[in-house]
Amino acid sequence: MAAATDDAGDSNEMIRVVSSDGEHFEMPEAAANLSLVLRHMIEDDCADAAGIPLAVVAAKPLAKIVDYCTKHAAKSSGLTIEEAEELKRFDAEFIEVDTDMLYDLLVAADFMGVEGLSKLAVQRTADLIKGKTPEQNRETFGIVNDFTPEEEEEICKENEWAFQITKPPSRLC
């Protein structure tokens, strides 16, 4: 799979990474190169047999990230339309996760500098927020409403333009 990438020569080399909770993962160098942090570590010859330690990434999100990078590295160049479609489908399926995992992926992808995944997770979170009432959003993201009814009314008035588009004014708050 890794042979399909541009990085000829040592692209078959496997890079080891270690999660914050001590689990070891392996991925092709081409996949590791999708992460800015890992790429810099490899360039600086820090990728040894012990593995690159990732102090803030736990095993669960790291497994997902390794999956994502491996898939994307294998299909990084010269995509046909079908392959691009397949990758899109993979992404859509990949990001269908619960909010806890989504937070983990957001933080981990941002920390590791995996731009594609970071964008994907950010877009997914935005999509979850979009088109919902404040009440629904509170439920999805576990946000506690600490406003008094008066405060709520005040905010609705303050940003009247935003609240009025999706709902009639009588059911604003």
């Binding site: 080891r16 914050s20 909770d21 001590g22 689990e23 070891h24 993962f25 392996e26 991925m27 803030v56 736990a58 095993a59 497994a63 997902k64 390794v66 999956d67 491996t70 909010t99 806890d100 937070y103 983990d104 957001l106 933080v107 941002d110 950010v122 877009q123 979170t125 935005a126 927020i129 979009k130 088109g131 404040p134 959003n137 509170r138 993201f141 576990g142 946000i143 506690v144 409403n145 600490d146 406003f147 405060e151 709520e152 905010i155 609705c156 303050e158 940003n159 333009w161 935003a162 609240f163 009025q164 588009i165 999706t166 708050c173």
Partner: protein, 136 residues
């Protein structure tokens, strides 16, 4: 996914790990994400959706207004249909501008008068002893 795991954690690590995990995320929530990520998420939303997050909780009240990506959507802000065009938007924009200016001037002019008054007092205060000194 499982294929990539090549060895499991050791038992001693386990206790240590639990502590890290619990410290790192005591019930992670959206607002606990790093600020730049929250801003990134908000910048992906249309302006009215971003502004609607102000109604979630007191923590969220002002977050949207700090989002670094400014998007000025006259159609959304002035409750116009896209067919209304500029002719509908402009008068409303002018009213908003006028109101904002009036508010600003109301606050600014008393401030200006006060500053001028203080300045005069200061000048008098500074010159008075000199004046006295000369007389004496």
């Amino acid at each position: 996914m499982g294929n990539n795991i090549i060895c499991q954690r050791k038992p001693q690590d386990h206790i240590h790990v639990k502590q890290i995990d619990e410290n790192a995320r005591p019930g992670a929530r959206l607002e606990d994400l790093p600020q730049d990520l929250v801003y990134k998420i908000l910048s992906k939303l249309p302006p009215n959706e971003a502004a609607k997050t102000s109604g979630l909780s007191s923590k969220w009240r002002c977050i949207w207004s700090k989002c670094p990506r400014l998007c000025f959507d006259g159609l959304a802000m002035f409750k116009c249909e896209s067919g209304d065009g500029l002719a509908m938007v402009l008068p409303r924009l002018m009213v908003l501008f006028k109101n904002t200016m009036e508010k600003w001037l109301k606050n600014f002019i008393p401030d200006l008068i006060l500053t001028a008054y203080q300045l005069i007092i200061l000048i008098i205060g500074l010159s008075f002893p000199c004046h006295l000194r000369r007389r004496i």
